[in-house]
Symmetry: C2
Subunit: 403 residues, 2 copies
């Protein structure tokens, strides 16, 4: 029984999966998204900074190019998702707590400028004119006009609404369904099988638990604590720009929303705990207050911890998977029917339009050579042979029929 | 129609109201408790320290006597409530952050000792032997054996279970029902009237909104932020005693529970905000870490803010209300059918058995002369005349019949 359920199955309904699904749907494809709880993973915690410039890290040139590419795509993507997604062209203000923090920003700026990125030093007087509630004792300020923001929870809601409830299967994908030579869809935890010509694995860290993948994905959880706070009327607006600070070498950000709330975050923990860290909350509040003392006046209404899907080089695992030597392939040497899109780490929200665009290209048979460096087998270089996958395929035989 | 619904109506199902109701029920009286959401006020936030000794404040001698009296009643009260209420005879360890904090504890101790209270200085070595995770740089430690703890949420659940669901009316009392000369029960927001021989007003700050009271109650909200955290296995037990600290003059406490969680609190805000204060959370985490650095390792799973019912002298408003001159009274000069029990401020959980005992005495016609100083009219001394109350009584005429 080879009945096709959809043209494309996307596993994972975080911002990446939904962005890919939306782009595929707009191209006229029938799309099904599979996720037991859409938008409840890293997207639920994310602050939504579109920080191609300020998130640049040394020696991540290819990733930077991809981030800048995605930032350029954002306005059109946001327009297609609808005004409800909370896209704002808020500028970003980088603030240094002390002289060493200022030097760190200045050093980074010289490399950012070498890459053609616009990072403008401000006098503290200029910074304070823009943001009157800044702390008195800051050491330096830089403005980045190009780094904007979106509200990831509103983005998830907007994309789900665009796709329509009929496109969403609220269940967990247990394994890829193989027909021997190609990926044919997924088998759900409850035994149901969904079939499609193409399957996109975009479920972040969940990809580790998806059986039947032909390649090992070196994902690791990097936890972050994120605070959501309400700004009382007496201190509104707390800030108008997104504030990114370094305070004694520790990063912290304050993202102001249209609704009078702010998001504060920036912890990175690899301690294996998905609970909110008391020490993390303490440091965020301490460092945010060092930049904007009135943070003490805010109402803390939510603390969230989530894991981001980290990779060894901080770049995504994005593309098709090369077929093992001597095995059937799609003409370009890859396993037919399978696309991987995970490992977006700190940049999932920013990279959503670019990931969606790359995946649409792959669905159309076009692999953009600029992003070949993100191929998902780059750390393993060995695709699992057919025999190994067949075991998974057999145990993945449909039980509940075709949905 | 004077059909009696119950012997006693208790307005308010926090620990105070439930304690009074339970004591009255145990004496054989038919009791009805009226509260739209039992246990959701200050009792929901409270840490449950039974801190008669360590909560002593200068010049609050009569309150101290009442607190010590209540601490003595606690074991028997806890036994009657059942083992589920989480009463523990955990000792209390007072820790000084710096020399000034130590001096503050030492000064207080000399007065505590003059009142016959046992506060024992410990060497830091002794303190560390008891609690290995204490910070290295503390300035002093004192042990108070007599200050124990209970879990207020479990206490609420235990008392509700003892009383039985049929004794609880989940609705808001809008006003006292008067029959002209005496309080005859309450009228609910939905118009239903409940009648009883005696009505006890024990709804904390809610008493301000109860119409028809013959006396003005000078209650004000004093907000507190309370954190609940889980202790990971690697740092268990975080502490075995209740830790009360002074850190640069600021109080903070850490109450360890049997289930591997701790409660951290001690903020007092009069800023009118019932939202969790970011600055409050920051200071609690900062000061708790100053005493026990491993607090940084904990998982923050709940932040709660609630208001305690404060009074001008920090003592409760507890007793019957004198009748106005020339008006009918109960033989002892008081308004018949009415008892007030609110304003327990920081001490509601500790004072629950004593409040229950006092109210039972009043129901039996016995006013303990030791607690006359807590009479609810002590700040006003003028009881509202009958005519004024009659207006309230008329507008409080039963609409929905007798329940």
């Amino acid at each position: 029984m080879e009945e096709v359920h959809a043209d494309v199955i996307v596993v994972g309904a975080g911002v990446i999966g939904l962005g890919i699904a939306w782009e595929a749907a707009r191209s006229g494809r029938r799309v099904t998204v599979v996720d037991p709880a859409p938008g409840s993973g890293a997207s639920f915690a994310a602050a939504g900074m579109l920080a191609a410039v300020s998130e640049y890290h040394y020696q991540e040139e290819q990733l930077l190019e991809f981030m800048v590419h995605s930032a350029v795509l954002w306005p059109a993507f946001a327009a297609s998702a609808g005004p409800g997604c909370g896209y704002l062209s808020t500028p970003t203000l980088c603030l240094a707590g002390d002289a060493a923090d200022r030097q760190a920003f200045a050093d980074l700026r010289s490399v950012q400028q070498a890459h053609g990125l616009d990072v403008r030093p401000l006098t503290l007087r200029e910074a304070r004119t823009r943001e009157p509630l800044l702390a008195p004792a800051l050491a330096g300020a830089f403005e980045i006009e190009a780094d904007h923001q979106v509200d990831p929870r509103r983005l998830v809601a907007a994309l789900l609404a665009r796709l329509g409830e009929e496109s969403v299967v609220r269940a967990r994908a247990a394994r890829l369904a193989w027909d021997g030579r190609r990926v044919a869809g997924v088998v759900l935890e409850d035994g149901r099988e969904l079939r499609a010509a193409e399957t996109v694995v975009a479920n972040g860290l969940g990809a580790r638990d998806l059986a039947g993948l032909p390649v090992s994905l070196p994902l690791r959880p990097v936890y972050g604590d994120v605070l959501r706070l309400r700004v009382p009327a007496r201190v509104r607006p707390l800030v108008t720009a997104t504030v990114r600070g370094l305070v004694r070498g520790r990063p912290v950000y304050i993202v102001p929303r249209e609704d009078g709330t702010v998001v504060i975050g920036a912890t990175q923990r690899e301690d294996g705990s998905d609970a909110v860290s008391a020490g993390g909350v303490y440091e965020l509040l301490r460092d945010a207050q060092a930049l904007v003392p009135a943070v003490a006046e805010l109402e803390l209404y939510e603390t969230t911890a989530r894991a981001r899907p980290g990779t060894p080089d901080n770049a995504p695992l994005l593309g098709r998977v090369p077929a093992a030597a001597g095995e059937p392939h799609d003409g370009a040497g890859c396993v037919p029917g399978l696309i991987v899109a995970t490992g977006f780490f700190r940049h999932g929200v920013l990279l959503t339009p670019a990931a969606a665009s790359v995946c649409l290209g792959l669905l159309e048979g076009v692999a953009d050579p600029r992003w070949q460096g993100f191929r998902p087998d780059r750390f393993t270089r060995t695709t699992r042979p057919l025999a190994e996958r067949s075991a998974a395929a057999r145990s993945a035989a449909p039980q509940g029929g075709i949905r």
